[in-house]
Amino acid sequence: MATVQADRKTTSSLLYLDGISVSFDGFKALNELSFIVEPGEMRAIIGPNGAGKTTMMDVITGKTRPDEGDVFFEEGKYDLSKLDETEIATLGIGRKFQKPTVFEMHTVEDNLQLSLKNDRSVKATLFWQSSAEQEARIDQVLDIVRLKHLRARVAGSLSHGQKQWLEIAMLLAQDPKLLLVDEPVAGMTDVETMQTAELLREINKTKTVVVVEHDMAFVRELGVKVTCLHEGSVLAEGSIDQVSTNDRVVEVYLGR
């Protein structure tokens, strides 16, 4: 693990992005993006398509290397730009994809079994045996996302919303320090949306959460600090009301 000596700017923060730039074939997806997430906080990130939301997630989770800029995790302990997905995941950053991604061929239970915080090495998984507390942990997580009754179902057969929740459940099973949740309510009914909001608030009691979302109603429901991205850098930051009244935000985003 690449660690760097804590410097004062980064100390308090859990996630620290500074001057991140990424470009694909000339197009600047991220442009000098900087923001900080404090431990225990829940942050909503909004922004029009192509604002760089997903790219930002890719950078944090090590899928994309930033062309320049720093990404630090846990009070600057870890330089994420030097680690790959697997290492970052094991550091305790869980990511939920835009499109719900679960192991369709596995049962709900197995999905969680695979996510539980365990030794991930080849040897360990080859000779692995399930245990009571593992089972208990699975029940607990299933409770949180209200999927207990579907424990034996094949994930592929779940509804869209249920898949979203299962994926969140998988993040919880990982027991991460930071959850990155990409458009959790895309394609959900209003009821589901509200339930999801509740669920995230529930989760936020114990964990730091970063939510990327279009759905303003949902963001409002979360009622947390909002960062609005535009063309790869922060446009505005603050409470939902501040942000949604910010002229430039209105112009580039809500206006349309």
């Binding site: 694909f24 074939d25 890719d58 899928k63 994309t64 499109k99 991604t101």
Partner: protein
């Protein structure tokens, strides 16, 4: 060799005669010579040829010409010789009058072997040094340069005086130099002069010529010779590199031609078409069929056969391609590996189908006159078929780029490549585009087939020989990027040709494969792959 030399002397003497007392009716040797042509024995024929050449008989030239291209007939029974004209009429070789009346039943062609051809060429060489046709004179001058026989010297010098056209004159001078260098009675000064002339010619033959100086040559000549050969070698070394480049270029263009269709289907549709090679093969067979029809019906059109075959091959392969796409591949989208297997199956079926339809043996596809032969460009030899194929490839490539850039279809294709869903959303009928794209790819494969029929077997196995190489090119160049394919093909072609001389053909091929495998590790999406946010999972 001695006997041969005498013959040439005789020929030269004959030329003297022809020049001085042309047309004088002169019976005897010619008639006896004709006798010898009827014994069906190479030695006799050889003697006869010389005798005829020296006879000075006006029939000599036509007779030797006839012998050369197998139009000289003889009848062993009644000891007669006939010249078969191009339009299958018999001319009595003795009288030169058309032969009317029933040809003898044991009529047969006078047979020639390589040695005889040599004799004939020599005879011709001497005979045609003064021929009215400049090209002929050039040819025979070259022949003399090769044979560089002292006996022909007078003839050469005579011709030299008479010669007007510079390029012929040049060769004659070189020929003369060659002879002088070989002759023992030449003064050192002349020899050095000769060496310089030959040095300026500067090709492989000149080198051989200069290096084959006898041991007893005087020092100063030897010095000049070594200097000259050194220069020639330097010169040749440079040309050698140029030649490798050229070979690489032409190999590359063949690869490109074979791979470009694949690049399209692979790039736009992400379809691995294992039957691509068979599309090429079909194109080649179309060429064969076209040529067959032309041969039997309209022989006159033969030189246009390829021009006719091209569109047909394109259409046919494209049609087959579209049929395959509609009937099989479209059910397999999003499952590239299954597509790979299915198309492999298709390729097996197509191969065996052709095998059953046309038989397993190679089919003859001829080169039109404008595609056979070669010409010298500086120090390298450029064969017409390779040159045309390179040009053709260039044209196809350019046309394709233009088509993608400027036509509606091209636009829609690029749209689909970049974002299928979005394209569909804006109302592009992706299914139709897929079919057309696949058709286009296959059609181009068909065109490749026409080109390959000019340099390779036309057999059911034709495609197999190219499929793996084509894949290497596409993957190496980077998917969905025609320029990548271009660079990929040329790189591989040239690399191969520079490796071949010292590594040998087999190792060169292996080296290239290993290189590609390693390269893919570095750039898993090929040289010019489009980057961007690949949406995974």
């Amino acid at each position: 060799m001695g006997k041969f030399r005498d013959r040439i002397l005789a020929i030269v003497f004959a030329i003297g005669l022809i020049v001085s007392a042309a047309g004088l009716a002169h019976a005897g040797p010619y008639e006896d010579a004709l006798e010898k042509l009827t014994t069906d024995d190479y030695a006799d024929t050889a003697d006869a040829v010389t005798a005829v050449a020296t006879s000075g008989n006006p029939m000599a030239a036509p007779l030797i010409a006839a012998l050369q291209d197998g139009r000289l007939q003889f009848s062993a029974k009644d000891k007669k010789v006939f010249i078969k004209t191009v339009d299958d009429k018999l001319i009595d070789a003795e009288t030169g009058k058309p032969f009317d009346g029933a040809p003898p039943d044991d009529l047969d062609a006078v047979r020639v072997n390589n040695r005889l051809r040599g004799v004939i060429d020599a005879a011709n060489g001497a005979l045609t040094l003064m021929a009215p046709d400049a090209a002929k004179r050039y040819e025979s001058a070259q022949a003399v340069f090769k044979s560089r026989d002292a006996a022909v010297l007078p003839a050469v010098e005579k011709a030299l005086e008479a010669e007007k056209i510079p390029r012929v004159k040049k060769v004659l001078t070189e020929a003369r130099a060659a002879i002088l260098l070989g002759a023992d009675d030449t003064s050192p000064a002349d020899k050095i002069a000769a060496i310089n002339i030959i040095r300026d010619r500067g090709d492989q033959d000149s080198l051989a010529l200069i290096e084959s100086l006898p041991a007893d040559t005087p020092a100063e000549v030897r010095a000049a010779a070594t200097a000259a050969s050194a220069q020639i070698q330097r010169n040749l070394a440079i040309w050698n590199t140029v030649q490798n480049l050229w070979y690489g270029l032409s190999l590359g263009s063949v690869l490109l031609l074979a791979a470009i269709g694949l690049a399209i289907t692979f790039g736009v549709m992400g379809v691995i078409n294992m039957a691509h090679g068979e599309m090429v093969m079909l194109g080649a067979y179309v060429t064969y069929v076209v040529q067959e029809i032309i041969r039997t019906r309209y022989p006159g059109l033969f030189d246009y056969s390829l021009a006719i075959a091209l569109p047909l091959a394109f259409i046919f392969s494209a049609a087959v391609g579209i049929a395959i796409e509609r009937s099989v591949i479209r059910f397999l989208y999003g499952r590239p590996l299954e597509t790979l297997l299915a198309t492999w199956g298709i390729s097996l079926v197509l191969q065996q189908a052709v095998r059953v339809a046309f038989g397993p043996t190679n089919k003859e596809v001829g080169n039109p006159s404008w595609m056979s032969g070669a010409f010298d460009l500086g120090g390298i030899l450029i064969t017409y078929n390779r040159m045309w194929i390179i040009l053709f490839t260039g044209i196809v490539f350019a046309a394709l780029l233009a088509m993608l850039r400027f036509t509606r279809l091209g636009l829609e294709m690029r749209a689909v490549t970049q974002n299928r869903q979005m394209a569909a959303a804006v109302g592009i009928r992706t299914a139709r585009i897929d079919a057309l794209t696949f058709g286009l790819g296959s059609g181009i494969a068909g065109l490749a087939g026409v080109a390959l029929s000019q340099i390779d077997n036309v057999s059911p196995n034709l495609g197999q020989g190219y499929i793996i190489d084509s894949f290497m090119v596409v993957v190496f160049g980077g998917v969905g990027n025609l320029w990548g394919t271009l660079v990929g093909a040329l790189t591989l072609g040239i690399a191969n040709k520079f490796l071949e001389p010292f590594a040998g053909a087999v190792l060169a091929k292996i080296a290239i494969l290993v290189f590609i495998i390693l390269f893919i590790q570095k750039r898993p999406r090929g040289m010019f792959a489009l980057k961007g946010r690949a949406i995974e999972a």
